[in-house]
């Protein structure tokens, strides 16, 4: 009885009128993997006010952790799996492995973010990405991976294919809030948000111990 009454108390925030007004949207967005930043004022304010209650809710009912982080003066929330396992989302249909192309592009963006650490706006567009591939420090590696070979020039069609793949990932990152697109759906013009730290955190151990990691992973 006591336990029931405590739980009722913990979930009582759900009867709050503000919570009820935005709960459906907030719940769907968080479960879709969205990072809630102050640029979503109503959802962010709700999480800010009922952080403990929502954390209890997701922990109890989903086995997920509601994380709050602050990077570069921007606070944000997202849902994360517990250290081991997938909580109550252990059914493979309920979570997604980070795709290979998402991993590569996310590491590209993380590097761009750190290369512009002092810039107030971390805005980039397709030309910046193209420059990295065409003229950047690691151009040969980029070209070998994206075009399968290294040549002085690539056809418009080949560039279009790379741009299309890149654009797909960018749109996905926009949807989950790692970046913010400036223009229309078609154009690649975006700001990398401090939420990119979440991706970095996913591979934090490997990055912090990069030399050991590379030694172990590289074929002899």
């Amino acid at each position: 009885m006591e336990s029931n009454s405590t739980e009722q108390q913990e979930f009582s925030f759900l009867s709050n009128i503000q919570v009820q007004q935005h709960f459906a949207e907030l719940n769907i967005e968080l479960l879709r993997g969205k990072h809630i930043t102050p640029s979503f004022p109503s959802l962010f304010a709700l999480l800010d006010e009922f952080e403990n209650e929502f954390a209890y809710y997701y922990d109890t009912l989903y086995g997920l952790k509601l994380e709050r982080r602050t990077h570069d003066n921007v606070a944000y929330f997202y849902l994360e799996f517990p250290i081991s396992g997938k909580g109550r989302l252990s059914n493979p249909l309920l979570y997604l492995e980070i795709e290979a192309r998402q991993t590569i592009v996310a590491f590209m963006l993380a590097n761009l973010y750190f290369s512009n650490l002092f810039s107030y706006d971390k805005k980039f567009q397709w030309d910046d990405i193209k420059f990295e591939i065409e003229q950047g420090e690691h151009r040969e590696a980029y070209q070998r991976l994206f075009f399968t070979d290294v040549r002085p020039d690539y056809t418009d069609k080949e560039w279009e294919m790379v741009k299309k793949n890149f654009g797909t990932v960018i749109n996905f990152f926009h949807r989950i809030g790692l970046i913010e697109k400036v223009d229309s759906e078609e154009a690649i013009h975006f700001t990398i948000l401090p939420t990119i730290y979440h991706f970095i955190e996913i591979y934090k151990n490997e990055i912090e111990n990069i030399d050991v990691f590379l030694k172990e992973i590289k074929p002899l």
């Binding site: 690691h138 980029y142 970095i200 912090e208 990069i210």
Partner: protein, 468 residues
């Protein structure tokens, strides 16, 4: 010249610009050569060998390590005419064209903005000071607006702001490169930048202080406008009341003063916004510097590690067919994120024009009629079953008795079933199924003794021979 014709003069077709572009601006290398010449031979004539030496010297600059040998003659020809020309009446002497000098000066001005060196506040006080006699005659205010504000004060502030913005951007760019330096030198650079940002901060404060004068200017202009407005509204003397020309002049003066006040305010608003952007950039970079001074070693190591990870992935991942595009190295750890898919599907209605959308609806039924029809149908079936039964009985009786009085049988059935139809139909059915072996005898006789009605008596026999 009116505005339309001025616009037409400025309008050049994009195609013309495209074809002329190569002659308008030098390439990066050509520009460096021109700068070299501009600095070393200011407004002086130079010889071909000196130009040649400038090209060679420029191509040897360490940051221009392109691995290519510059073709001196080709570079010289590229510069000739547009950027370098022969000195008048001296075929072996050359000078920079005015166009080339202008381009170099614009670049110098842009890169090394001279406004940042000006004592801004003093200049402001001088140019923003409204004339004491502004209220006496509107032309005094107009003169200040045109020569003091539009031609000087506004340009000075804009120049200062642009210079400050460029300085901040350059400083931020340089700061972004710090993390790539080794730790020790990075800390030294950071200290320099810290000092540099201090200077930029002082400049920004100077501008802000100077801009504070706008409040004073704003109130002064407001007072002037009120004075001019008062002259329009003041109780006119009898003499002046009829003086339409005077009234219109006062009104015009007032409107001119209002327009000047509004334009100055609009400019100040714009300046405020620009300063906000510059301040935000500086505050952000400043906070990062402070943060970095404490965690530089960690941050620098982290950035390099992040880069190593990217390089590893780029070099060891493989291109793949769509939709994967890329495959990560087999041993690279895969990670997951919370990704519940939510889809709300609805069928889309396509209105193709020729097909009309139809909505199914329940048919109305006349239940009474339906029940009536149903019972009639069942009655008919029952009749058919009876007729069949009587028909089969009649056939069996014919077979047994070899003869049957069909008229009597029809009468009996009619009586029994109280339906002449069943009797008659049985008779028809019976006759229809007779064979050649059967014989039909039809006689006219009286029905009964007390009924004089003549009827036809039909007797059917089974064998034709029996009949005979």
């Amino acid at each position: 010249m009116n505005v339309t014709s001025s616009k037409q003069d400025k309008s050049i077709s994009l195609e013309r610009i495209f074809h002329s572009y190569g002659e308008l601006f030098p390439t990066e290398f050509e520009f460096l050569v021109l700068y070299h010449l501009y600095i070393n031979y200011p407004s002086l004539e130079m010889q071909y060998t000196e130009i040649k030496q400038a090209i060679v010297d420029t191509s040897r600059l360490p940051f221009l390590d392109t691995g290519k040998d510059r073709q001196i003659e080709r570079t010289f020809k590229g510069l000739l005419r547009t950027f370098i020309e022969r000195a008048p009446s001296k075929s072996n002497q050359f000078i920079l064209t005015p166009h080339a000098e202008k381009i170099v000066e614009i670049a110098i001005h842009r890169i090394n903005n001279p406004y940042l060196k000006f004592p801004l506040k003093d200049t402001f006080e001088m140019y923003f000071k409204l004339p004491n006699n502004a209220t006496e005659d509107i032309s005094n205010l107009q003169s200040w607006f045109k020569f003091g504000f539009q031609n000087n004060a506004r340009q000075m502030v804009t120049g200062h702001l642009e210079g400050l913005k460029l300085s901040v951007d350059d400083a931020v760019k340089a700061l972004n490169r710090i993390l790539e330096a080794d730790n020790l030198s990075a800390i030294q650079i950071l200290e320099q930048f810290s000092a540099n940002f201090q200077i930029l901060g002082d400049k920004a404060r100077q501008i802000t202080e100077a801009i504070r004068m706008k409040v004073e200017v704003h109130y002064q202009l407001r007072d002037i406008v009120e004075i001019f407005a008062g002259r329009v509204e003041q109780e006119p003397s009898a003499h002046r009341y009829d003086d339409l020309e005077y009234y219109q002049k006062m009104q015009h003066n007032c409107q001119t003063a209002i327009r000047i006040k509004e334009e100055v305010n609009t400019f100040f608003d714009k300046v405020d916004k620009q300063l906000d952007v510059i301040n935000m950039k500086m505050v952000f970079a400043g906070s990062k510097i402070k943060e970095l001074q404490e965690t530089l070693r960690v941050q620098s190591h982290f950035k390099l590690s992040l880069k190593k990870m990217l390089v590893y992935l780029l070099e060891n991942s493989k291109a793949d067919q769509p939709p994967q595009w890329i495959t990560l190295p087999d041993s690279f750890p895969r990670r997951d994120w919370v990704q519940q898919k939510f889809r709300f599907r609805t069928l889309r209605y396509y209105d193709l024009g020729f097909l009309k959308r139809t909505i199914p609806f329940e048919q109305k039924t006349d239940e009474e009629y339906e029940v009536d029809q149903q019972s009639q149908f069942e009655l008919e079936l029952a009749k058919q079953a009876l007729i069949q039964e009587y028909f089969e009985q009649a056939q069996r009786d014919l077979e047994t008795a070899k003869s049957i009085d069909l008229s009597k049988r029809i009468f009996e059935i009619t009586q029994q079933e109280n339906s002449i139809e069943i009797g008659v139909q049985t008779g028809y059915e019976f006759i229809r199924n007779l064979t050649e072996e059967n014989f039909i005898e039809i006689k006219e006789e009286l029905q009964s003794s007390n009924n004089s009605l003549h009827i036809w008596k039909v007797t059917v026999r089974n064998n034709r021979n029996l009949a005979s």
